[in-house]
Chain length 91, copies 2
């Protein structure tokens, strides 16, 4: 019986699933922006604040040494920057 150990192992897995969802979420948004050639309903304030915050979460994840936070926010940052690029291109 080693239930303590297995409950510790579960937490990073939950973090990876959470990070997978919040990161992969931006793929349909990138696809929709590319397909419709429109990002008008995306607030520029939202994109700037969100990209800044994600970059800070990345630094925070590095400092508390939580790999799920580092990987998820690193990938999300790249996708959000791509959406910012599409908005500036299409709007």
């Amino acid at each position: 019986m080693d239930t303590g150990e297995s409950s510790v192992d579960f937490i990073p897995v939950l973090g990876y699933i959470a990070g997978f969802c919040t990161t992969v979420a931006f793929l349909p948004q990138v696809y929709r922006a590319w397909r419709t050639k429109s990002c008008k309903d995306l607030s520029p304030g939202m994109l700037i604040l969100f990209a800044s915050g994600i970059l800070l979460w990345l630094v925070y994840g590095i400092l508390i040494q939580e790999l799920p936070i580092v990987i998820a926010n690193g990938a999300t940052f790249l996708l959000v920057i791509l959406i910012v690029f599409l908005k500036f291109r299409f709007d």
Copy 2:
């Protein structure tokens, strides 16, 4: 001289600033959706995946006992649900 202690204190502050940015980011998005009465450019897949992921981050934050993660994701979840509501109402 207690630099070790003060460097530990800095990390939660960074987490709170990161959480403030990624949460407050959704306020201009809610305002824009309300003002334009349009959420067409917001991908429904993005909203569903993102809301699910934020809920999992909330549980993850509770489990690793990181209050910045709990507060930020709790508040973000409420704002994203509001955007989902506005999308279903306007589109």
